[in-house]
């Protein structure tokens, strides 16, 4: 059977690229070995940033043991989530060409014949199904989600992306353990510096390898290894350069030509990135007009916007940082959440807040804030931004602004605040 594989891709001489080989695969592998753990850790941190242990905050309540690492998400530094989630999304986008190149470089292995020479090989190949499936699943769901292409999903994004991540992490970890020695020896087999000095003329196939990646009947090269590495790196650079702007403020934001959330709205104080428009969330000017009141649950207090503006006002520059990877820093003004807690008869530091919005049906129309978040002196019920009243799309009449909280917890169109003892 071994000597008579089926025709086509199952025959070793079908694969003719003179560049495939253990060294090349290991270069891509090394880049992913550095990048994937960063994406995984920032992704898991993002889950912790939601403070899922607070009532109503967990988008994946069936997580079981997978939430073992949660902690009280800090409010300092205010830009932390902006950085971690920006890295998660932008680095993920940037590594797409490397992932594709890695998959290309090992494709003959998919068709290796016989499919398994031993039980060990069969079991390892099963883990590779989880590795490749998990990697592509995570990249695809992430990329579609940041483009708001929800209608493509037959599942809700949060559980799919989270549990898919754990399957991928499991397979990735075992792949690293099993292949690390091979990667190191393959990387040592050639000098990167020499490859970067070798043009097309000097490009020869790698020597035959035990991994079966080197072509048995290589074609003449039409691209040097240097050229291929530059091509893949150039692809990464291109995606990075066209998307990183959505995590920046100032003129560089305009460079985000191919990124969902690097859009320009104008030059006014409210002209910055919107996510979740008022009309889509069922918030109309009627409910936010002069009749609007902020309800402080457990008290008789129903505060109008004028009464809120009469409270001591504080101004802080705080970022909105979205789980979808974009962020922007703006200057917010309003009363402190801690002052509102005192008004409701509570002691800041000893109470959590439950925030309810006017929006209808959104996944984040309600959110809990931790005692630490309520007590931070920069946590505001923002009424104004950049010196002007909030626009309806940015949460008029009032929205939450908590330093370092994920964007969806900066609830817009707040209608009721409940201060209550910690849920433990």
């Amino acid at each position: 059977m071994r000597s008579h594989p089926p025709p086509g891709p199952f025959r070793p001489d079908f694969w003719r690229s003179p560049l495939r080989g253990s060294w090349l695969t290991s270069v891509f592998g090394l880049v992913l070995l550095v990048g994937i753990p960063i994406i995984a850790i920032t992704g898991l941190l993002s889950y912790a940033a939601y403070n899922p242990w607070l009532p109503g905050n967990d988008t994946t309540p069936e997580r079981g043991l997978l939430g073992f690492y949660f902690f009280d998400w800090p409010t300092w530094p205010a830009w932390l989530y902006r950085v971690t989630q920006g890295i998660h999304v932008i680095l993920g986008l940037t590594l797409i060409p490397v992932l594709l190149a890695k998959l290309w470089s090992v494709i003959p292995k998919l068709f290796a014949w016989p499919p398994a020479r031993s039980l060990a090989m069969a079991v390892e190949r099963a883990s590779l199904l989880l590795l490749v499936g998990g990697a592509v699943f995570e990249f695809v769901t992430g990329v579609l989600n940041i483009q708001l292409f929800y209608t493509a999903f037959p599942f809700s994004f949060y559980p799919a992306h989270l549990y898919g991540a754990w399957i991928f992490i499991a397979a990735f970890a075992v792949h690293v353990v099993l292949k690390l020695p091979r990667m190191v020896s393959a990387l040592r087999s050639r000098s990167l510096r020499r490859e970067l000095r070798t043009g097309l003329d000097g490009t020869r196939p790698e020597p035959p390898d035990p991994d079966g990646l080197v072509a048995t009947r290589p074609a003449e090269p039409s691209l040097s290894r240097r050229g291929l590495l530059g091509f893949v790196g150039g692809g990464s650079l291109l995606i990075f350069g066209l998307s990183v702007g959505q995590t920046l403020d100032g003129p560089l934001r305009r460079t985000a030509l191919l990124a969902p959330h690097g859009r320009m709205y104008g030059l006014g104080p409210n002209d910055f990135q919107v996510n979740k428009s008022a009309s889509a969330m069922g918030v109309n000017p009627m409910s936010t007009g002069p009749g609007w009141r902020l309800e402080l649950a457990g008290t008789d207090l129903r505060l109008s916007r004028a009464e809120l503006l009469a409270l001591p006002q504080y101004t802080y520059a705080l970022p909105i940082a979205c789980v979808e990877g974009w962020s922007t820093q703006q200057t917010w003004t309003g009363p402190r959440l801690a002052d509102l807690a005192r008004l409701a008869g509570a002691v800041p530091g000893r109470v959590e807040a439950y925030v309810e919005s006017l929006e209808r049906g959104g996944a984040f129309s309600e959110a809990s804030l931790s005692a630490r978040q309520v007590a931070d002196h920069r946590s505001l019920l923002a009424l104004r931004v950049n010196g002007a009243d909030l626009s309806l799309d940015h949460g008029y009449p009032a929205r939450i602004m908590v330093p370092n909280a994920p964007g969806v917890h900066n609830t817009k169109w707040v209608r009721r605040l409940t201060f209550r003892p910690p849920s433990g």
Binding site: W104, V136, L148, L258, S277
Partner: protein, 183 residues
């Protein structure tokens, strides 16, 4: 005791085909992955999840790869290769990568951003961002145009730099007939 461990290990290597630690590491992987999969079932999304997961495992090797391999063969296939209008251009430097690179980079951007470029995510996008996805097609075309223009410029510079009378040299290799799986 030590010899017993050693003989057990040899037995495992013989029967299993690798060190027992290999099996242990993989069992740990399947345990964690299996647990995560059980959460998928509890979340009630397993049908769509499994379909997408299996699709993700094969989409590169069985869909994307054949597409770009055939595209690569297509751009290298030159039925008009005998038509040589001028003697000056009879041995041009290899041009294939000046076509391949901008084409592939443009395709890469389309692969990543097709929901925006093709306006497939228009509904979700407008609800969220309060703008529509109209500009993205133009932006992608602009970037594509710049990539091709840059590539053409680089090729022109290369043509100019060639000393007159210089032969094709080793650069004629890309004229060789392509085979499948060529990089």
């Amino acid at each position: 005791m030590i010899s017993r461990v050693r003989s057990l290990r040899q037995w495992a290597v013989g029967r299993y085909g690798a060190d027992p630690l290999h099996l242990l590491a993989l069992l740990a992987c399947f345990t964690l992955a299996g647990y995560a999969a059980s959460r998928v079932v509890v979340a009630g999304i397993w049908v769509g999840f499994v379909v997408w997961f299996v699709g993700a495992a094969i989409i590169h090797d069985l869909v994307l790869y054949p597409l770009y391999a055939v595209a690569d063969i297509a751009v290298r296939w030159r039925p008009w290769r005998r038509v040589r209008p001028s003697a000056v251009l009879s041995h041009p430097p290899p041009w294939i990568n000046y076509l391949r690179v901008p084409l592939a980079l443009s395709a890469l951007l389309l692969l990543v951003w097709f929901p925006l470029i093709l306006r497939l995510s228009q509904d979700g996008y407008r609800r969220s961002v309060a703008l529509d996805t109209t500009p993205f097609l133009g932006r992608w075309l602009l970037v594509t145009g710049l990539l091709f223009a840059g590539s053409a410029l680089a090729y022109a510079v290369r043509l100019r730099r060639r000393a007159p009378g210089e032969g094709s040299g080793p650069g004629s290799r890309p004229d060789d007939p392509p085979g499948p799986g060529q990089g």
